[in-house]
């Protein structure tokens, strides 16, 4: 989970959660996610009905954006009372459950084709992004381990990757706090910028979804950025992002070996066990559900029902994205990691956009 291992010293960021004593302690926060998410859905439907009833052409703003905006307003005005915090932090749990259930909406052939293409693009993106971020961090004279964390966070998987890498390379909690803040703030910005750029460039649903999945860092933000464009784009964004998540163990292992070689991190004793520990298990769940859907385990109405379950899980996730983003706290974390992250993100977004245009040209997405 993104915020599970965050035990920050100074400076602290608002994603910190105290372990709840029991599962019951999660209920208030989960209810808050449901209320905020459902309010977003209600507003979308209300505007649509109002426009229809009054013969008005009103902009169709998706529930995704409403849920995020309501969450952002609450988080940045009244704040999240302590009773809700541990439950709100479950939004990544719902995200992962939602991704597994979304597997039912993919036939394995699609997964193989799009996933295979995604993996090729991810390999290119990782090589370019890790190299660029490393040089950029050095140019800005950031601490070497902070550079590693920013490189991992911006090239693979945002917060989860930073947390996985922090333990593996024995990085300071302060460094990971900086890196997480930069990635979260940039994720919040890209959430709103990506759909605008996608529409301006008239990207197809598949091309845009692939781009969002390759370029937006956090899985929750990548899912939301895709869903903000269209349902189909959201599906492709999740698939591409899931492929990116699958590489997390290999990259973190690489960094762990690098820092252990310099005598600044513990040796990795069992590399197979390390990879399995870091591998996101929901990727396997996604593939298994997709396999079941492909072999006809579910009827068509059942597939629709499972797809809707995934939508409900994502509804909670999108509410959580807004609720956990405290812009004031994030902006306190210092300018240099943010500038390095921002420059890196822009370059990665441009590289991946180029890759997607290339893939679209050669493979007709």
């Amino acid at each position: 989970m993104a915020s599970s291992a965050i035990r920050t010293s100074t400076p602290t960021i608002k994603t910190e959660t105290v372990p709840p004593a029991s599962a019951a302690a999660l209920i208030p926060g989960i209810l808050l996610l449901a209320v905020v998410g459902y309010a977003g859905k209600f507003i979308e439907q209300f505007i649509a009905h109002y426009g229809k009833a009054h013969h008005l052409v009103l902009p169709n703003i998706e529930y995704v954006l409403w849920a995020i905006l309501i969450g952002l307003v609450i988080s940045n005005t009244v704040g999240i009372p302590a009773i809700f915090r541990s439950g709100v932090a479950t939004y990544e749990f719902w995200l992962k459950a939602g991704i597994v259930l979304l597997g039912a909406r993919f036939l394995l052939g699609d997964v193989r084709r799009l996933g295979g293409l995604s993996l090729v693009l991810i390999a290119i993106e990782l090589a370019l992004a890790l190299t660029f971020m490393t040089y950029l961090g050095r140019a800005f004279k950031l601490k070497p381990k902070l550079v590693s964390l920013l490189a991992v966070g911006s090239s693979i998987c945002g917060v989860s990757a930073i947390i996985a890498a922090q333990g593996a390379i024995d990085a300071d909690e302060e460094d990971s706090s900086y890196a997480i803040a930069a990635i979260l703030l940039l994720g919040a910005i890209s959430l709103f910028l990506f759909p605008l750029v996608g529409h301006a460039l008239h990207l197809s649903d598949r091309a845009y979804g692939l781009w969002a999945g390759l370029a937006v860092d956090n899985t929750a933000e990548a899912t939301a950025a895709g869903a903000l464009y269209s349902d189909a784009a959201g599906k492709v964004a999740v698939l591409a992002k899931t492929c990116r998540n699958a590489t997390i163990g290999f990259i973190v292992l690489g960094y762990a070996i690098y820092w252990a070689g310099k005598g600044q991190a513990a040796e990795v004793q069992n590399k197979g066990a390390f990879l399995w520990r870091k591998f996101p298990k929901f990727v396997l769940g996604f593939l298994l559900i997709s396999l079941l859907a492909t072999v006809g385990f579910f009827t068509k109405p059942q597939l629709a029902a499972v797809g809707n379950l995934s939508r409900w899980a994502f509804l909670l996730t999108f509410a959580g994205v807004g609720l956990r983003t405290n812009l004031r706290e994030l902006s306190k974390q210092g300018a240099r990691p943010f500038i390095v992250g921002a420059v890196g993100e822009i370059v990665i977004a441009l590289i991946t956009l180029g890759l997607v245009f290339g893939a679209d040209h050669w493979y007709h997405l």
Binding site: A23, F93, A305, V306, N308, L309, W312
Partner: protein
């Protein structure tokens, strides 16, 4: 998020997968007939 104490023996990642499969099986075996959106 932190793993609540009774559930620490399985990672939250795995719990998410188990919950998703449980929900999908409820639909598959007709215990949940339809899910509106």
């Amino acid at each position: 998020m932190a793993n609540p104490s009774p559930f620490r023996f399985i990672s939250l990642d795995t719990w998410a997968v188990l919950l998703a499969f449980a929900a999908a099986l409820l639909v598959r075996f007709g215990i949940v007939k339809s899910v509106p959106w």
